[in-house]
């Protein structure tokens, strides 16, 4: 039954399921009482009936108070336990919600080890992660069901919370606050992996894109001309690829696009076909997304996709 990959989610789950069952029982009891009230005959002895009704209402109120109080207490302890995870030696990640994707920035005290990426978060298992949230446009909500509860991203307001994955896994995070047309297609991939693997991923992400300086093989020349398409066409107006002249930050950072599992904020798997479809006509996949359609010749498109696929 458990879907929790961290202690916090396990605590939430432990509170959530009994709450569901208790509320279901209460709902059924109320419906039975309602049906009884509608179907029963009027009593002859009004006074006796009044007394009996008062007794039932009193019992129901007492039961409600007891249940609410029990939940008040358990909620308090759960919230304390969730907030009480160890906060030493954490990874700090700033997550910004935008219509309709996630900007992810890893902080580090060494400036050159700061990392900007998008729509995919890697975290080390067993180490606390400090998430700092904000929004660039409207209210979003950051939700990784397997690790923690929902957290609203409020424009103009930074807030932070801690989470920790206790076992490895790949999860789908989701925007949990309606934020416009493509709210449902605003997801992110969360990868919880062992420390060594995380460090290897992090170091690889820090490196700049490599564009073959001289095209010797056919594959190299495709990548080279794909790079030229990227920096001379519309792509360069919104995206960054470190190591090239593309440095705009309106859209997601694409420096290591090919290493990501999904494209378009969890909308499609990262395959050659999906990528090409997305570049040519994003509006067909995610209507209203802020990426415009692109008019490329087949040769340009093939080269561009080869370049994007080389961004490992």
């Amino acid at each position: 039954m458990t879907d929790a990959f961290g202690r916090q989610a396990a605590l939430i789950e432990r509170l959530w399921w009994p709450t569901l069952w208790v509320l279901t029982a209460i709902y059924i009891a109320v419906m039975i009482a309602l049906a009884y009230a509608m179907l029963r005959r009027r009593h002859v002895d009004e006074v006796k009936s009044e007394v009996r009704t008062a007794r039932w209402v009193g019992a129901a109120i007492a039961g409600t108070v007891v249940i609410l109080f029990a939940y008040f207490i358990s909620d308090l302890f759960t919230a304390r336990a969730i907030a009480g995870i160890e906060r030493k030696d954490g990874v700090t990640i700033e997550v910004t919600g935008l219509q309709w994707w996630w900007r992810v920035e890893y902080s580090d005290s060494v400036p050159e080890r700061r990392l900007t990426t998008a729509n995919e978060i890697h975290i080390p298992v067993g180490r606390p992660v400090r998430i700092i949230t904000s929004s660039a446009d409207v209210i979003h909500s950051f939700w990784i069901r397997e690790l923690h509860g929902k957290r609203d991203l409020i424009p103009g307001d930074k807030s932070e919370f801690w989470l920790r994955a206790d076992s490895a896994g790949v999860f789908r995070g989701q925007c949990a606050e309606f934020c416009g047309l493509e709210h449902a297609k605003m997801a992110l991939v969360v990868v919880a992996e062992p420390e060594a693997q995380f460090q290897a991923w992090y170091d690889r992400q820090l490196s700049a894109a490599r564009v073959p300086p001289v095209a010797v093989t056919r594959a190299d020349s495709l990548i080279r001309s794909g790079h030229d398409v990227f920096v001379t066409k519309a792509c360069v107006m919104c995206h960054t690829i470190r190591g090239t002249t593309a440095g705009s930050s309106i859209g997601p950072d694409l420096t290591h696009l090919a290493s990501r599992r999904m494209i378009a904020a969890g909308t499609r798997t990262n395959t050659r076909g999906n990528l090409a479809g997305w570049v040519v006509d994003p509006q067909g996949i995610k209507p209203g997304a802020l990426m415009p359609p692109n008019n490329l010749t087949p040769a340009e498109l093939e080269a561009l996709i080869s370049f994007l696929e080389s961004l490992k």
Partner: protein, 163 residues
């Protein structure tokens, strides 16, 4: 009669072009527009050969233009209409003309003294949205399409504040 009025009112909602949103405009990449007049001097009334009215009178186009204006760093030279490195856009003095197709050409072709050419880098529709916003800065478009607020509360602009 009453029912007829209600039906007419309901039908009129569909006619509200001001709020229409066009997600798949074509053609995608802008090239220099044909028939651009390089001077405001011309016989007869001003011409709008390229049919930009749909953008000028569309509220979403103007607010998208505002987003692109900030995102493409127009703001870096023209500030929020007040100018700086580049000329002011809110002062109603136009070196290269204030008609939509003239502003379109200025953005796509670039101008001497430092205005870069964005031809081939931005789609036609995006340029028209920028034009709509730039004209809103100069208060040349219908007042009911000026952005009264931005979805991005981080950046305020003169128009965005409803001034």
């Amino acid at each position: 009669m009453k029912r007829l009025v209600i039906v007419a009112l309901l039908l009129s909602i569909a006619a509200c072009d001001r709020e229409a949103r066009e997600y798949r405009p074509g053609p995608p990449t802008a090239s220099p527009a044909p028939f651009v007049r390089q001077t405001p001097l011309q016989p007869g009334a001003p011409t709008d050969l390229l049919g930009s009215a749909a953008y000028q009178e569309n509220r979403w186009a103007v607010s998208e233009g505002q987003r692109l204006y900030n995102g493409f760093n127009c703001v870096g030279c023209h500030a929020n209409g007040g100018g700086g490195i580049g000329p002011a856009l809110a002062d109603r003095k136009w070196k290269y003309g204030s008609e939509p197709d003239q502003i379109f050409a200025t953005i796509v072709e670039g101008r001497a003294e430092g205005m870069p050419s964005f031809g081939g880098k931005i789609g036609n529709a995006e340029v028209w949205r920028l034009v709509a916003y730039v004209r809103a800065l100069g208060k040349l478009t219908p007042e009911d399409t000026w952005p009264s607020r931005t979805d991005d509360i981080g950046e305020a602009s003169p128009v965005g504040n409803g001034q």
